[in-house]
Amino acid sequence: MSKYSRYVVADSSKCTGCKACELACFAEHNKKSNGVGFTVGTVEVPVTPKLYLTKLEAYCMPIQCKHCEDAPCLNACQKHAIYRTEDKQVIVDENKCIGCKDCVMACPFGAIAILPKSEKGTFKLQKDKEVVKVASKCDLCEGIEGGPACVRVCPNEALQIIDADCETLAKNIRAAEGLYASRF
Protein backbone atom coordinates (compact mmCIF):
# COMPACT_ATOMS: atom_id res chain seq x y z
CA MET A 1 0.00 0.00 0.00
CA SER A 2 1.09 3.51 -0.75
CA LYS A 3 2.58 5.58 2.04
CA TYR A 4 0.56 8.66 1.08
CA SER A 5 -2.88 9.16 -0.41
CA ARG A 6 -2.97 9.11 -4.20
CA TYR A 7 -4.60 11.77 -6.36
CA VAL A 8 -5.27 12.70 -9.97
CA VAL A 9 -3.53 15.62 -11.62
CA ALA A 10 -4.07 17.01 -15.11
CA ASP A 11 -1.36 18.17 -17.51
CA SER A 12 -2.65 21.52 -18.74
CA SER A 13 -0.45 21.34 -21.86
CA LYS A 14 -2.42 18.26 -23.00
CA CYS A 15 -5.93 19.20 -21.78
CA THR A 16 -8.26 20.46 -24.52
CA GLY A 17 -11.16 21.26 -22.18
CA CYS A 18 -13.53 18.67 -23.69
CA LYS A 19 -15.12 17.90 -20.30
CA ALA A 20 -15.07 14.15 -21.01
CA CYS A 21 -13.64 13.75 -17.49
CA GLU A 22 -16.57 15.64 -15.93
CA LEU A 23 -19.13 13.54 -17.82
CA ALA A 24 -17.35 10.26 -17.10
CA CYS A 25 -17.15 11.18 -13.41
CA PHE A 26 -20.87 11.91 -13.27
CA ALA A 27 -21.82 8.83 -15.25
CA GLU A 28 -19.62 6.54 -13.17
CA HIS A 29 -20.91 7.82 -9.84
CA ASN A 30 -24.49 7.86 -11.04
CA LYS A 31 -24.30 4.24 -12.04
CA LYS A 32 -24.08 3.53 -8.33
CA SER A 33 -26.89 5.81 -7.10
CA ASN A 34 -29.15 6.22 -10.14
CA GLY A 35 -28.58 3.03 -12.04
CA VAL A 36 -27.73 4.85 -15.26
CA GLY A 37 -24.33 4.77 -16.87
CA PHE A 38 -24.98 7.01 -19.85
CA THR A 39 -25.50 10.73 -20.12
CA VAL A 40 -27.34 11.55 -23.32
CA GLY A 41 -31.05 10.80 -23.16
CA THR A 42 -31.01 8.74 -19.97
CA VAL A 43 -30.38 11.31 -17.27
CA GLU A 44 -33.02 13.73 -16.09
CA VAL A 45 -30.97 15.39 -13.35
CA PRO A 46 -28.22 17.99 -13.85
CA VAL A 47 -24.71 16.68 -14.45
CA THR A 48 -22.92 16.88 -11.09
CA PRO A 49 -19.24 16.03 -11.48
CA LYS A 50 -16.65 15.72 -8.73
CA LEU A 51 -13.91 17.49 -10.66
CA TYR A 52 -14.25 20.92 -12.21
CA LEU A 53 -12.85 22.01 -15.54
CA THR A 54 -11.21 25.41 -15.11
CA LYS A 55 -10.47 27.58 -18.12
CA LEU A 56 -7.79 30.23 -18.12
CA GLU A 57 -6.86 32.45 -21.04
CA ALA A 58 -3.88 30.39 -22.13
CA TYR A 59 -4.90 26.87 -21.10
CA CYS A 60 -7.43 24.77 -19.23
CA MET A 61 -7.48 21.78 -16.90
CA PRO A 62 -9.79 20.06 -14.45
CA ILE A 63 -9.28 20.86 -10.76
CA GLN A 64 -9.87 18.09 -8.30
CA CYS A 65 -9.15 16.92 -4.78
CA LYS A 66 -5.51 16.31 -3.76
CA HIS A 67 -6.57 14.05 -0.88
CA CYS A 68 -4.34 16.10 1.44
CA GLU A 69 -2.52 14.31 4.25
CA ASP A 70 -3.75 16.88 6.80
CA ALA A 71 -6.95 17.74 4.94
CA PRO A 72 -8.41 21.19 5.76
CA CYS A 73 -11.90 20.02 4.67
CA LEU A 74 -11.76 17.04 7.01
CA ASN A 75 -10.57 19.25 9.83
CA ALA A 76 -13.26 21.87 9.14
CA CYS A 77 -16.21 19.45 9.04
CA GLN A 78 -18.03 19.62 12.39
CA LYS A 79 -20.43 16.88 11.34
CA HIS A 80 -17.60 14.35 10.80
CA ALA A 81 -19.05 13.73 7.34
CA ILE A 82 -15.59 13.76 5.75
CA TYR A 83 -13.48 10.74 6.58
CA ARG A 84 -10.31 9.00 5.45
CA THR A 85 -10.47 5.46 4.12
CA GLU A 86 -7.93 2.73 4.80
CA ASP A 87 -6.44 3.63 1.41
CA LYS A 88 -5.91 7.17 2.82
CA GLN A 89 -8.44 8.71 0.42
CA VAL A 90 -10.49 11.64 1.77
CA ILE A 91 -14.19 10.99 1.20
CA VAL A 92 -17.44 12.89 1.84
CA ASP A 93 -20.23 10.83 3.37
CA GLU A 94 -23.07 12.43 1.40
CA ASN A 95 -25.70 11.00 3.73
CA LYS A 96 -24.11 12.73 6.72
CA CYS A 97 -23.38 16.08 4.97
CA ILE A 98 -25.66 18.93 6.04
CA GLY A 99 -24.38 21.37 3.43
CA CYS A 100 -22.79 23.88 5.79
CA LYS A 101 -20.22 24.89 3.15
CA ASP A 102 -17.30 24.95 5.63
CA CYS A 103 -15.29 22.46 3.55
CA VAL A 104 -15.84 24.54 0.40
CA MET A 105 -14.33 27.55 2.13
CA ALA A 106 -11.55 25.50 3.70
CA CYS A 107 -10.25 23.85 0.51
CA PRO A 108 -7.38 25.90 -0.94
CA PHE A 109 -7.84 24.39 -4.42
CA GLY A 110 -11.55 25.00 -4.97
CA ALA A 111 -11.95 21.23 -5.33
CA ILE A 112 -15.29 21.03 -3.51
CA ALA A 113 -18.66 22.32 -4.72
CA ILE A 114 -22.12 22.20 -3.18
CA LEU A 115 -24.30 20.32 -5.67
CA PRO A 116 -27.81 18.82 -5.63
CA LYS A 117 -28.00 15.14 -4.73
CA SER A 118 -30.03 12.80 -6.89
CA GLU A 119 -30.99 9.20 -6.27
CA LYS A 120 -32.68 6.80 -8.65
CA GLY A 121 -33.02 9.50 -11.30
CA THR A 122 -34.81 12.05 -9.11
CA PHE A 123 -33.72 14.70 -6.66
CA LYS A 124 -33.45 13.72 -3.05
CA LEU A 125 -35.75 16.01 -1.06
CA GLN A 126 -35.65 17.37 2.47
CA LYS A 127 -38.55 17.60 4.89
CA ASP A 128 -39.58 21.01 3.51
CA LYS A 129 -39.39 19.68 -0.11
CA GLU A 130 -36.17 21.56 -0.82
CA VAL A 131 -33.53 19.65 -2.80
CA VAL A 132 -30.77 18.08 -0.73
CA LYS A 133 -27.44 19.69 -1.62
CA VAL A 134 -24.19 18.12 -0.51
CA ALA A 135 -20.47 18.73 -0.76
CA SER A 136 -19.23 17.05 -3.93
CA LYS A 137 -15.60 16.21 -4.37
CA CYS A 138 -13.34 13.56 -5.96
CA ASP A 139 -13.38 10.21 -4.16
CA LEU A 140 -10.88 8.68 -6.60
CA CYS A 141 -13.74 6.43 -7.78
CA GLU A 142 -13.74 4.56 -4.49
CA GLY A 143 -15.20 1.10 -5.02
CA ILE A 144 -15.38 1.48 -8.79
CA GLU A 145 -13.63 -1.11 -10.89
CA GLY A 146 -10.84 0.20 -13.11
CA GLY A 147 -9.99 3.19 -10.94
CA PRO A 148 -10.69 6.88 -11.63
CA ALA A 149 -13.06 7.25 -14.59
CA CYS A 150 -11.58 10.64 -15.56
CA VAL A 151 -8.15 9.09 -16.13
CA ARG A 152 -9.65 6.26 -18.18
CA VAL A 153 -11.67 8.45 -20.55
CA CYS A 154 -9.34 11.40 -21.20
CA PRO A 155 -8.75 11.29 -24.98
CA ASN A 156 -5.39 13.03 -24.67
CA GLU A 157 -4.19 11.15 -21.61
CA ALA A 158 -3.81 14.46 -19.83
CA LEU A 159 -4.83 12.99 -16.48
CA GLN A 160 -2.76 10.67 -14.37
CA ILE A 161 -2.84 9.19 -10.89
CA ILE A 162 0.01 10.48 -8.80
CA ASP A 163 1.57 8.42 -6.07
CA ALA A 164 3.97 10.83 -4.38
CA ASP A 165 5.85 8.05 -2.63
CA CYS A 166 6.69 6.11 -5.82
CA GLU A 167 7.51 9.35 -7.63
CA THR A 168 9.93 10.40 -4.92
CA LEU A 169 11.66 7.03 -5.04
CA ALA A 170 12.06 7.25 -8.83
CA LYS A 171 13.40 10.81 -8.54
CA ASN A 172 15.81 9.76 -5.79
CA ILE A 173 17.20 6.99 -7.99
CA ARG A 174 17.62 9.40 -10.92
CA ALA A 175 19.33 11.92 -8.67
CA ALA A 176 21.67 9.22 -7.32
CA GLU A 177 22.55 8.17 -10.86
CA GLY A 178 23.18 11.83 -11.67
CA LEU A 179 25.53 12.08 -8.72
CA TYR A 180 27.33 8.98 -9.95
CA ALA A 181 27.73 10.52 -13.41
CA SER A 182 29.06 13.77 -11.99
CA ARG A 183 31.45 12.17 -9.49
CA PHE A 184 34.98 13.49 -9.26
Partner: protein, 181 residues
Protein backbone atom coordinates in the same frame (compact mmCIF):
# COMPACT_ATOMS: atom_id res chain seq x y z
CA UNK B 1 -27.18 28.53 -2.46
CA UNK B 2 -28.00 29.87 0.97
CA UNK B 3 -26.05 32.83 2.23
CA UNK B 4 -24.01 32.94 5.43
CA UNK B 5 -21.71 35.22 7.37
CA UNK B 6 -18.10 34.12 7.59
CA UNK B 7 -15.72 35.46 10.20
CA UNK B 8 -11.98 35.85 9.80
CA UNK B 9 -10.22 35.08 13.11
CA UNK B 10 -7.08 36.85 11.86
CA UNK B 11 -8.98 40.15 11.84
CA UNK B 12 -11.44 39.73 14.74
CA UNK B 13 -10.40 41.57 17.90
CA UNK B 14 -13.26 40.21 20.00
CA UNK B 15 -14.90 43.60 20.62
CA UNK B 16 -18.45 42.19 20.51
CA UNK B 17 -19.76 45.10 18.41
CA UNK B 18 -21.40 42.45 16.19
CA UNK B 19 -23.41 41.12 19.14
CA UNK B 20 -24.64 44.60 20.06
CA UNK B 21 -25.52 45.40 16.43
CA UNK B 22 -27.43 42.13 16.25
CA UNK B 23 -29.56 43.04 19.27
CA UNK B 24 -30.12 46.59 17.98
CA UNK B 25 -31.26 45.19 14.61
CA UNK B 26 -33.64 42.62 16.10
CA UNK B 27 -34.98 44.35 19.22
CA UNK B 28 -36.10 47.34 17.17
CA UNK B 29 -35.57 49.48 20.21
CA UNK B 30 -33.07 52.14 21.12
CA UNK B 31 -31.21 49.99 23.60
CA UNK B 32 -28.64 52.66 24.40
CA UNK B 33 -31.26 55.00 25.80
CA UNK B 34 -33.19 52.66 28.07
CA UNK B 35 -32.47 50.98 31.38
CA UNK B 36 -30.02 48.09 30.79
CA UNK B 37 -32.15 45.85 33.01
CA UNK B 38 -35.27 46.79 31.09
CA UNK B 39 -34.63 44.55 28.11
CA UNK B 40 -33.21 41.12 27.36
CA UNK B 41 -29.87 41.09 25.59
CA UNK B 42 -30.29 38.19 23.19
CA UNK B 43 -27.82 38.36 20.31
CA UNK B 44 -28.10 35.73 17.55
CA UNK B 45 -24.35 35.26 17.30
CA UNK B 46 -21.86 34.56 20.05
CA UNK B 47 -18.31 35.71 20.53
CA UNK B 48 -16.05 32.75 21.21
CA UNK B 49 -12.66 33.42 22.74
CA UNK B 50 -10.05 30.75 23.24
CA UNK B 51 -6.38 31.03 24.10
CA UNK B 52 -5.61 31.28 20.37
CA UNK B 53 -8.53 32.97 18.63
CA UNK B 54 -11.57 35.18 18.95
CA UNK B 55 -14.41 34.97 16.45
CA UNK B 56 -18.20 35.16 16.57
CA UNK B 57 -19.94 31.83 15.88
CA UNK B 58 -23.23 31.92 14.07
CA UNK B 59 -25.56 29.89 11.85
CA UNK B 60 -24.06 28.55 8.61
CA UNK B 61 -27.47 28.42 6.90
CA UNK B 62 -26.81 24.85 5.80
CA UNK B 63 -28.21 23.49 2.54
CA UNK B 64 -29.71 20.50 4.39
CA UNK B 65 -30.19 21.93 7.89
CA UNK B 66 -30.18 19.41 10.70
CA UNK B 67 -32.25 21.84 12.81
CA UNK B 68 -34.96 22.02 10.15
CA UNK B 69 -35.01 18.24 9.83
CA UNK B 70 -35.56 17.62 13.54
CA UNK B 71 -38.06 20.41 14.31
CA UNK B 72 -41.31 18.65 15.31
CA UNK B 73 -43.54 21.68 14.65
CA UNK B 74 -41.88 22.75 11.38
CA UNK B 75 -41.20 26.24 12.67
CA UNK B 76 -37.76 26.41 11.01
CA UNK B 77 -38.20 27.61 7.45
CA UNK B 78 -36.17 28.89 4.53
CA UNK B 79 -36.89 32.54 3.73
CA UNK B 80 -34.87 34.48 1.14
CA UNK B 81 -31.93 32.04 1.18
CA UNK B 82 -31.78 32.09 4.99
CA UNK B 83 -32.78 29.40 7.48
CA UNK B 84 -35.11 31.17 9.91
CA UNK B 85 -36.87 30.14 13.14
CA UNK B 86 -40.48 31.27 13.54
CA UNK B 87 -40.30 32.07 17.26
CA UNK B 88 -44.06 32.48 17.54
CA UNK B 89 -44.50 28.78 16.69
CA UNK B 90 -41.47 27.39 18.54
CA UNK B 91 -42.40 25.15 21.48
CA UNK B 92 -38.92 25.21 23.03
CA UNK B 93 -38.21 21.50 22.64
CA UNK B 94 -34.46 22.14 22.16
CA UNK B 95 -34.19 19.46 19.42
CA UNK B 96 -32.58 21.99 17.07
CA UNK B 97 -30.05 23.04 19.71
CA UNK B 98 -29.09 19.39 20.00
CA UNK B 99 -28.97 18.85 16.23
CA UNK B 100 -26.80 21.85 15.30
CA UNK B 101 -23.13 20.81 15.11
CA UNK B 102 -21.91 24.41 15.52
CA UNK B 103 -23.77 25.41 18.66
CA UNK B 104 -25.31 28.22 16.65
CA UNK B 105 -28.73 27.96 18.36
CA UNK B 106 -29.49 28.92 21.94
CA UNK B 107 -32.66 29.20 24.01
CA UNK B 108 -33.92 32.61 25.09
CA UNK B 109 -36.88 33.98 27.01
CA UNK B 110 -39.04 35.70 24.41
CA UNK B 111 -39.87 39.28 25.29
CA UNK B 112 -43.50 40.20 25.87
CA UNK B 113 -45.00 36.70 25.87
CA UNK B 114 -45.76 34.22 28.61
CA UNK B 115 -47.02 30.68 29.00
CA UNK B 116 -50.37 29.57 30.43
CA UNK B 117 -48.91 29.44 33.94
CA UNK B 118 -47.52 32.95 33.58
CA UNK B 119 -43.88 31.91 33.28
CA UNK B 120 -41.72 33.19 30.43
CA UNK B 121 -41.87 31.54 27.01
CA UNK B 122 -38.43 30.16 26.17
CA UNK B 123 -37.75 29.72 22.46
CA UNK B 124 -34.90 28.86 20.08
CA UNK B 125 -32.81 31.77 18.83
CA UNK B 126 -30.33 31.90 15.95
CA UNK B 127 -28.98 34.11 13.17
CA UNK B 128 -31.58 34.95 10.50
CA UNK B 129 -29.16 37.02 8.35
CA UNK B 130 -31.27 40.06 9.33
CA UNK B 131 -33.89 38.87 6.86
CA UNK B 132 -36.53 41.52 6.24
CA UNK B 133 -34.49 44.45 7.52
CA UNK B 134 -33.41 45.40 4.00
CA UNK B 135 -29.83 46.36 4.78
CA UNK B 136 -28.35 42.87 5.10
CA UNK B 137 -26.62 41.50 8.20
CA UNK B 138 -25.90 44.24 10.77
CA UNK B 139 -22.91 42.37 12.20
CA UNK B 140 -21.12 42.61 8.84
CA UNK B 141 -21.86 46.33 8.57
CA UNK B 142 -20.62 47.34 12.01
CA UNK B 143 -17.47 45.24 12.40
CA UNK B 144 -14.65 47.77 12.90
CA UNK B 145 -11.99 45.45 11.45
CA UNK B 146 -14.11 44.10 8.56
CA UNK B 147 -13.64 40.61 9.96
CA UNK B 148 -17.09 39.46 8.82
CA UNK B 149 -18.14 38.81 5.24
CA UNK B 150 -21.54 37.91 3.83
CA UNK B 151 -20.92 34.95 1.52
CA UNK B 152 -23.62 34.75 -1.14
CA UNK B 153 -23.62 32.68 -4.33
CA UNK B 154 -21.58 35.23 -6.30
CA UNK B 155 -19.03 35.64 -3.51
CA UNK B 156 -18.68 31.86 -3.15
CA UNK B 157 -18.19 31.44 -6.92
CA UNK B 158 -15.62 34.22 -6.91
CA UNK B 159 -13.66 32.68 -4.03
CA UNK B 160 -13.76 29.11 -5.37
CA UNK B 161 -12.97 30.14 -8.94
CA UNK B 162 -10.03 32.21 -7.78
CA UNK B 163 -8.66 29.16 -5.95
CA UNK B 164 -9.18 26.93 -9.00
CA UNK B 165 -7.39 29.40 -11.28
CA UNK B 166 -4.52 29.72 -8.82
CA UNK B 167 -4.15 25.95 -8.47
CA UNK B 168 -4.34 25.52 -12.27
CA UNK B 169 -1.56 28.09 -12.65
CA UNK B 170 0.53 26.43 -9.97
CA UNK B 171 0.15 22.92 -11.40
CA UNK B 172 1.71 23.92 -14.72
CA UNK B 173 5.01 24.07 -12.84
CA UNK B 174 4.61 20.43 -11.85
CA UNK B 175 4.47 19.27 -15.46
CA UNK B 176 7.16 21.68 -16.60
CA UNK B 177 9.40 20.08 -13.98
CA UNK B 178 8.39 16.59 -15.16
CA UNK B 179 9.31 17.42 -18.77
CA UNK B 180 12.72 18.63 -17.72
CA UNK B 181 13.49 15.23 -16.20
Amino acid sequence: MRHFVKGNPDLCIGCRTCMIACVVAHEGRRIFEIDPDGYDFNPKLHMVKTAKISIPVQCKHCENPACLAVCPVNCIKVIDDAVVIDQTQCIGCKSCVEACPFGAIDMIAQVGTSQADGSKRVVANKCDLCVGTGDGPSCVRVCPTQALTLVDEDKMKEVVNEKRVESAKASTYIFEAKEEQ
